[in-house]
Amino acid sequence: MAKDPLAEAELHFDELNKLRILEPDVSQKTTELKEECEDFVDKIGQFQKIVSGLIELVDELAKEAETEKMKAIGARNLLKSAEKQREAQQQQLQALIAEKKMQLERYRIEYEALQKVEAEQNEFIDQFILQK
């Protein structure tokens, strides 16, 4: 086949008989590539959106987990301190009980003394009645 002078000059015609620098197949492939690229960019964009959504979600979860963890720690501490508080309270109550016990002991002694007095007085009355 004789060489097309145009081809030698690296010029081509397309189907619409327009003068082109690129070969028609190349040009077609280029267009295809371009389209495919656009497609790809679109898809990547979509993917990014999805992933960021995911990240957000995970972050939220993390946050929630963190607060829950803090809560748990707090609760644990509270429990511990409550234990101590109870101990302190118990100590205080014990002190108060000891105090009351001492008071009771004092009342007991007083009561015994009064009983003794009563007995003495009864004895005195009896003696008095008998002698008269």
């Binding site: 108060l96 105090e99 001492m102 004092r106 002694i109 007083e110 009064l114 007085q121």
Partner: protein, 772 residues
């Protein structure tokens, strides 16, 4: 105790009362706050410079003798930067002095405000004048002095030195007293003005009570936290103890009345209001805590009264369980229940209730409203109100207001005043040996106005409550714990004072008869007729009855002796009631109304030696010889019976009286009685009988009669003991006088005849034969 509290922004370090309802508090937030309890207001007095961290605050003592000052104007404030500040009431710093290296840990005025002592971290104690000039450095030691206190008479200073307590007199030559008091560093001490007791609190979590000689009276068990503050109440009956989350109210003997557990952190400082009803505490968490003393109880016969709230009391009649509630407009400050009346003082008024009627009290306004003492007798009661003392009747009439220069009435307490229906005794506040005696009705001093002066400091005295004013007697206990009895009104006789007991701890007169009850040598002892010492000293031991109190490890305190019941408070705080025999009271009643036959019947019925001894004493005191004879015979005192018989046979009343005096050992008075009645021979004879030769001769020579009688007896005496005459006067007189026993006998007969004649003439006694 009931509590309420308010707040600062940072740790409160010290508190101090100005009046009964106003408190100043200092805190690490550099503010001084004023708390008004009546209105509930809190206001900032001043904001101090940022580098002043206050540690201790002490108000200048309020009533200084001479000028009346209702409210103190300045206070001493010590701080961490080693400075002492004198701050006015308005908060202006009048003066600041650099006084210690490191923090000044305590600053205290002495009792009359003439000196201030500061204690520093550098271990020094410095004394300052009122205006803030350095007077002297009292002591210096290697460790910080955490707390310091003045003795009641301001002559000594108590301070801490690590685990030791030191009492140092201000006089440089005197010896200091030092003892190991705790097992930890001592943080706070306080010395009561009223009862001379010391309380200390330390890091070994114990508080201890000491007397001023350093003997321990009470030691608490170890608590959970160190004791950070202690403070005596103004009346010396209570003290408060502060610790972490703890406020404790204790009796002076150490046992605790009540404990409160507020969540306030450590109580760093405590302060009682002047009336002793309110307590303020400086708390570690920035609160100021106010506590009120409630649940006080008074008992008398069948009535039981409790202070339920600050302003109300509950009266319970134990016999029928009837309840009455008494409401007051103001806070109750003091109350007293005795002799059928309840006297209550609030901050403005005084209420007098009769136990028969709780609905309509008698109310009168108080002059100052600072009642610190109420004492009652059957007819009157006394109030110490501010710097004055008033005696009122139960009808609310002001009877008198005794005054004595030099006595600070506001310092009086139940141990330094005693009231009876006609007489009042007040111990001097400066010299404790001196007791002033007053007529209650006029408020004037008794007799020549001279006070009674004992040879030693008097700890406690009490007047008897019954009988006639002329027989009023006072029992007093001195520093050696000896018990004495003396007559208050001594007409024409020298003041006699007789010791009736030793090792006495507390005492009380009976309210219905003159029986004295005391704790002697750990035993409850009742003197059934203490006045017997003035009649027949030897009878005294026989008129005492003791109740064995083996259960008392340490001496209890006698609280009251009403009717036949003695109420004592043991050291552990329990009240113990003891019944006493009712017979002595009855006997006193019979004796005072001269029903001697009844008295004899009672003694015969009771068959009790003590009772017979009392009767012997009583009848002798009122010269009721026939009763005395029976009584002495009953207790087997034959010699005395014989002497009484001899007395009965004496021809005249005068010689009888003289011999009764002689019987009680009052030779001087017997002699003067006889001389007054012109019975010179008798006077000489009693001296001869007592071998009191010089006086006998002196009388004989002076009255130019019976010189030979004296000489004759002297010769007989010398011959009996085969001695030679050595007395110059007798040698001199014996020269010119001839001794003729027959003549002497005749002369004596004549004397008796003469006396008989006189007696018959004055028809005092029917003629009595003489057997001699």
């Amino acid at each position: 105790m009931c509590l309420d509290r308010c707040t600062h922004r940072d740790l409160v370090s010290c508190v101090g009362w100005t009046t009964a309802d106003e408190l100043y508090s200092c805190s690490d937030d550099h503010q001084i706050l004023r708390w008004n309890l009546l209105t509930g207001d809190t206001s900032v007095v001043v904001k101090l410079q940022d580098d002043i961290y206050p540690i201790d605050l002490h108000w200048f003592p309020k009533s200084v003798s001479g000028k009346k000052q209702a409210v103190s104007e300045i206070f001493a404030l010590t701080s961490t930067d080693g400075k002492l500040h004198l701050v006015s009431k308005s908060g202006r710093i009048e003066k600041s002095v650099e006084c210690h290296k490191g923090a000044v840990l305590a600053g205290r005025w002495n009792q009359d405000g003439t000196a201030l002592i500061t204690a520093g971290e550098d271990g020094q104690l410095k004394i300052w004048s009122k205006s803030g000039m350095l007077r002297s450095t009292l002591a210096q030691q290697g460790s910080a002095v955490y707390s310091v206190a003045w003795s009641p008479d301001s002559s000594r200073v108590l301070y801490t030195s690590g685990r030791q307590l030191i009492i140092k007199p201000l006089q440089p030559s005197s010896k200091l007293l030092q003892w190991k008091a705790h097992d930890g560093v001592i943080l706070k001490v306080d010395w009561s003005v009223v009862n001379d007791l010391i309380v200390s609190g330390a890091e070994d979590c114990k508080y201890k009570v000491w007397d001023s000689y350093g003997r321990v009276l009470f030691s608490s068990s170890a608590h959970e936290y160190p004791i950070t503050s202690v403070c005596w109440a103004p009346d010396g009956e209570l003290f408060a103890v502060g610790s972490f989350h703890t406020l404790r109210l204790c009796d002076r003997t150490g046992w605790s009345y009540s404990v409160e557990k507020p969540s306030t952190g450590s109580l760093l400082s405590l302060s009682w209001s002047a009336d002793g009803t309110q307590l303020a505490a400086a708390c570690g968490n920035g609160h100021v805590l106010f506590a009120h003393v409630i649940e006080q109880r008074w008992e008398w016969k069948n009535f039981e009264i409790t202070l339920t709230k600050r302003r109300s009391m509950q009266v319970r009649n134990v016999l029928n369980d009837a309840l009455d509630v008494l409401e007051f407009r103001d806070r109750v400050i003091k109350a007293s229940l005795a002799h059928g009346h309840l006297v209550v003082s609030t901050s403005l008024q005084c209420y007098v209730y009769s136990v028969k009627n709780w609905n309509t009290p008698l109310i009168f306004e108080l002059k100052e409203g600072m009642v610190s003492l109420i004492q009652q007798t059957e007819r009157y009661f006394l109030l110490v109100d501010g710097a004055e003392l008033y005696v009122y009747s139960y009808e609310g009439r002001l009877v008198s207001s005794p005054k004595s220069p030099g006595v600070r009435m506001d310092m009086l307490n139940s141990q330094s005043v005693s009231l009876s229906n006609d007489t009042m005794a007040i111990r001097d506040t400066t010299d404790e040996r001196v007791i002033f005696l007053f007529e209650v009705l006029t408020g004037k001093p008794i007799g020549d106005g001279k006070p009674f002066i004992h040879k030693m400091e008097v700890m406690f005295m009490a007047l008897d409550q019954c009988g006639s004013p002329t027989d009023r007697r006072m029992a007093l206990m001195d520093k050696n714990r000896d018990l004495y009895l003396t007559s208050v009104r001594t007409v024409g006789r020298a003041q006699s004072i007789c010791k009736i007991g030793s090792m006495v701890d507390s005492m009380c007169w009976n309210d219905s008869a003159n029986l004295l009850c005391a704790v002697q040598d750990n035993q409850l002892t009742v003197w059934c007729y203490p006045a017997v010492v003035f009649v027949d000293k030897e009878l005294l031991p026989k008129t005492i009855c003791t109740k064995d109190h083996s259960e008392f490890s340490r001496p209890p305190r006698v609280l009251s002796y009403v009717g036949t019941q003695v109420k004592v408070r043991r050291v552990d705080g329990s009240l113990v009631c003891r019944g006493m025999s009712p017979y002595p009271t009855l006997l006193h009643e019979y004796a005072s109304s001269a029903r001697w036959a009844d008295a004899l019947r009672l003694c015969r019925f009771a068959k009790d030696q003590t009772l017979w001894s009392c009767l012997a004493g009583m009848s002798m005191a009122s010269r009721e010889l026939s009763t005395a004879e029976v009584a002495y015979a009953a207790i087997g005192e034959a010699d005395k019976v014989q002497y009484i018989n001899f007395m009965k046979d004496l021809p005249s009343k005068d010689s009888c009286l003289a011999h009764a005096l002689l019987f009680s050992g009052h030779v001087q008075e017997a002699e003067s009685t006889l001389l007054q009645a012109n019975l010179i021979y008798h006077a000489i004879q009693i001296h001869i009988n007592l071998y009191n030769w010089d006086r006998a001769l002196e009388l004989a020579v002076k009255h130019k009669t019976h010189v030979d009688t004296v000489l004759a007896h002297r010769q007989k005496f010398l011959r009996d003991f085969s001695k030679q005459e050595s007395n110059k006067r007798f040698l001199q007189y014996s020269e010119g006088v001839e001794v003729d026993w027959q003549k002497i006998q005749a002369k004596i007969e004549m004397e008796f005849a003469k006396e008989r004649e006189q007696a018959a003439n004055s028809s005092v006694r029917s003629s009595v034969s003489i057997r001699r």
